[in-house]
Amino acid sequence: MIDERNDGELISEVLRGDDALFEVLLDRYLSAAYGFAYRLVNNKSDAEDIVQDSFLKAWKALKQYNPEKKFITWLLAIVRNTALDHLRKKRTVPFSAMEMGEDAPPIEETLVDENDLPDETFRKVEDKLFAESLLEKLPILYREVVVLRYQEDMDFKEIGEALGRPVETVKSQHHRAMRMLREQLSNAPE
């Protein structure tokens, strides 16, 4: 049976002691959490570990959840941090690469070309696996923006909340990601 209560109501009930309602939240967001984790680490087993840890962390920290924000952005922020910790432990990604602005000129981070139509870049991409392989080549800083934008269908404000970045930074990172993907696409064999 589908529970029609909104996330805030469910969380209030869980905090009042009805633990079982957390399961409803799990059912709502498990797929999104796994999808995001998987795109960050590109490994099914690691993504499962990350999702499990993330839901445990969310459960423990539920009192700290701010009901004025969307639960999904809060949860995906936990997933992201858990995934980054996981990658750091495995040393597959240098610490600096995960931090903002380390691999991009600061001025460029603030510039957004409004005339650019990034979605158009991928009109030509018809093969799903090819699209995913392009994504895997992106640095994690940009990949997470693209995944939240196109896989989770979030707007820039929500992405900013989930990643803890200003909206303008997210927009410029999205723009740069699109440019990188376009370059990869143009270099790909026909």
């Binding site: 633990d19 079982a20 957390f22 399961e23 799990l26 059912d27 498990l30 797929s31 999104a32 796994y34 999808g35 998987y38 795109r39 099914k44 993504a47 499962e48 999702v51 499990q52 839901f55 445990l56 459960w59 423990k60 979605d119 158009e120 870049t121 991928f122 009109r123 991409v125 018809e126 093969d127 799903k128 090819f130 699209a131 995913e132 994504l135 693209v146 995944v147 934008r149 196109y150 896989q151 269908d153 993907l181």
Partner: protein
């Protein structure tokens, strides 16, 4: 989904066992936490029981020493004296009452009752059938 790239970027297929795995981890954490809390409440309960016993014993000894029992009994045995000097009698009772000992006893008793409540609540969490569905 957004047009263009989004049509190619669908969520990866969710592994069938993942939901059960997450629920099992939550259940395990809940039980472990309940066990730890139960242990802490038990320790606190035993300590408060000991403190309550000692403080009651000490308060009782002080009551006998200070004559509290005598003045207390006087209130009921001599109504005439009570009516004539009830203020002085009440003041004497208050002065002879072992306030510190009684305060410690009441605090220990309250802690003991809270501990029993905590133990029962956590015991329920540990012993109930799995809270989350499998």
């Amino acid at each position: 989904m957004r047009p263009g790239y989004s049509s190619q970027l669908a969520r990866p297929t969710l592994p069938d066992h993942l939901r059960g795995r997450v629920l099992a981890a939550l259940e395990s954490h809940r039980r472990r936490t309940a066990r730890i809390h139960s242990g802490i409440w038990t320790l606190l309960g035993l300590t408060s029981l000991a403190v309550a016993g000692l403080s009651l014993q000490s308060a009782w000894g002080q009551m006998i020493q200070s004559g509290f029992g005598y003045y207390f009994a006087l209130m009921f045995s001599d109504v005439g004296a009570l009516a004539a000097s009830w203020k002085e009698l009440l003041l004497t009772l208050a002065e002879s009452m072992p306030l510190l000992g009684l305060t410690i006893f009441l605090a220990a008793l309250w802690t003991l009752l809270e501990s029993v409540k905590g133990i029962l609540s956590n015991y329920r969490n540990m012993s109930l059938p799995v809270r989350f569905a499998k």
